[in-house]
Symmetry: C2
Subunit: 344 residues, 2 copies
């Protein structure tokens, strides 16, 4: 079976640099998303990007407008990694996988002599991932399967409460983009239903997306393992099996949208070529107006700068075809007044 998405994990040299000192404030990003009645997007600089978004929302929600879209059709889909929160120096889910291997190691003495586990335990990520797809699959299965859905939910929550991003030394859930939180709120305030459509694991996202993004678990679409309903002595459980179910990346994103939503989105945001087909599926639809947005990582100071040749979040086809499909390229450095809520 081909699991092309897993390749996106097999990517990088993860230099864990701690350039930024920990900040004193412990305010979560979520607390700072209240939208001013005057300006719904205060962390966006004035300019063509902000204007394009505001104009689109205005024309599609104004009664009597020829571009008016009925509320049930107002579906907005966003990629997660690199679009709603950072994805550097590695996908945050990969940090979780590494920590899980270490946590589970005492129950697996054989891992000391078995790759890719041996390399992970020795902190040698490059070697750990050198086995390509097979290595990543072994790591995913060993850390994501073999629990019930409810157990896994708790494991993710526990990890997020203690793990810290290597550069900011903050919880990973504070590495969300303040301008995108504002955009999500703004769309919802205008009758749009917001979804996450991510190549990441659906079970890794659902435990926290409601608190962090205001997006409930039923509006999270992601990659998944097969599940099995089983009766135990203490009641029924749903077990996570070590078998891939769905890969929600590239052409899988429109398929995941169709399976979960059954409508073509009106508004879609992404950042990498993994989002290309989702953007294409959105903005080639007939009928209502559509909006495609790409977050371009141009800010090497406040965030990271990468695009066409990056091993994480590669954006090449998207830049080539943005004009053809009328996708808005959001320039993070130019368009965002602030990247994270915790910035001074």
């Amino acid at each position: 079976m081909r699991i092309p998405t897993l390749l996106i994990f097999v990517i990088a040299l993860f230099t864990f640099s701690c350039n930024t000192p920990p900040h004193a404030s412990d305010t979560s990003a979520q607390q700072q998303t209240s939208v001013s009645s005057k300006d719904p997007l205060p962390s966006w600089n004035e300019g063509p990007s902000k204007k394009a978004i505001v104009d689109f929302v205005a024309k599609t929600t104004k009664a009597g407008s020829i571009d008016f879209i009925p509320i049930p059709e107002r579906i907005a889909c966003f990629d997660n990694d690199g679009t709603l929160w950072s994805e550097q120096p590695m996908y945050f889910q990969l940090a979780f996988v590494m920590d899980r291997v270490k946590a589970l190691a005492p129950q697996h003495p054989e891992w000391k002599d078995t790759q890719p586990f041996k390399a992970v335990l020795e902190g040698d990520l490059k070697t750990a991932l050198s086995g390509g797809e097979k290595s990543m699959m072994d790591l995913m299965m060993a850390t994501h399967a073999g629990t019930t859905t409810e157990e896994f939910n708790k494991i993710v929550k526990d990890w997020l409460s203690s793990a810290r991003h290597p550069r900011s030394n903050r919880p990973f859930t504070e590495m969300v983009y303040q301008p995108m939180l504002e955009l999500l709120n703004y769309l919802r305030a205008n009758g749009y239903k917001t979804y996450i459509v991510s190549g990441g694991g659906i079970d890794f996202m659902r435990p926290w997306t409601e608190a962090v993004y205001g997006i409930p678990p039923e509006q999270v679409i992601g990659s998944s393992l097969k599940l099995k309903y089983t009766m135990t002595d203490t009641g029924p459980v749903i077990q996570k099996l070590p078998e891939p179910n769905f890969v929600n990346d590239k052409g899988g994103k429109p398929v995941g949208i169709e399976q979960h939503i059954g409508r073509r989105p009106i508004f879609t945001g992404g950042n990498s070529d993994g989002d290309y087909e989702m953007l294409q599926w959105t903005t080639t639809a007939s009928g209502y107006p559509r909006f495609g947005l790409i977050v371009h990582h141009t800010d090497e100071v406040r965030e990271w700068a990468y695009d066409r040749t990056s091993s994480i979040g590669k954006l090449d086809r998207g830049l080539n075809d943005a004009e053809k499909y009328n996708w808005l390229i959001v320039d993070m450095k130019m368009d965002w007044k602030k990247v994270y809520a915790f910035e001074k």
Copy 2:
């Protein structure tokens, strides 16, 4: 690959009797669902069933009640066939399959000599389904795959606009249960999000559930074929492949709920043993109060009467264990003042 659900189709002798003359009224069931401010369930007779439902909704939605459930957690899941609309004298989707075979026959001259198509074309349903799972699979693949999702949507809508139920001679979408429409509205008016969780095809339901039940496509969970995103000369399409993706029946129902919703339901309604695990998964959950409801087909005059030995909608384990799990058995004959909206 085992496709146990398809067996539910391989069932019956379908005597198409037309006992009931066509009625003059063309009012759709949907138009008659407005809920009185006094009685939210006017088509339910007073009695323990109605009281149990109203008491549950009251206690779970009253602020300050120890049983209060926050709105985001108020998830209500309903089976479709036999729970929200009739399923006799055959699953309505099977009537669609039969008509589709006839419509497609001119493009398939070989079907005149190939079972099970030959038997379908000759109106011999018993022979058509005598090949068991394999026959049904052949029929499903031939009629549900090979189109795009958007084409299939239109095919279903066109069929529903012309097809008539063999007994009532009304559109199949008028064979919905008025008391259940009221229950759906009542739950929604009290902050519950209503879902369909059916063994039927997800693509067969979504084109009409919003108009008929007020349930949008993103809240419909069902069985499905695999899908493929493809670029064509005229733009991207999603193709329905002749390959099973998911069987949303029995233990598959809790799995489908987990995949789509990611929360355990609060309120679940079903009618057959295909709903057993969904009911069990709901009412064994800890934390909030839960409600399980089974529609018992006891009305041989207004609808049909069947349960433990029926080939369609068999209800045996559910009756045995209803008391153990505290499931409410709704007696259609006793509890419902009216079954269909079109009744005088």
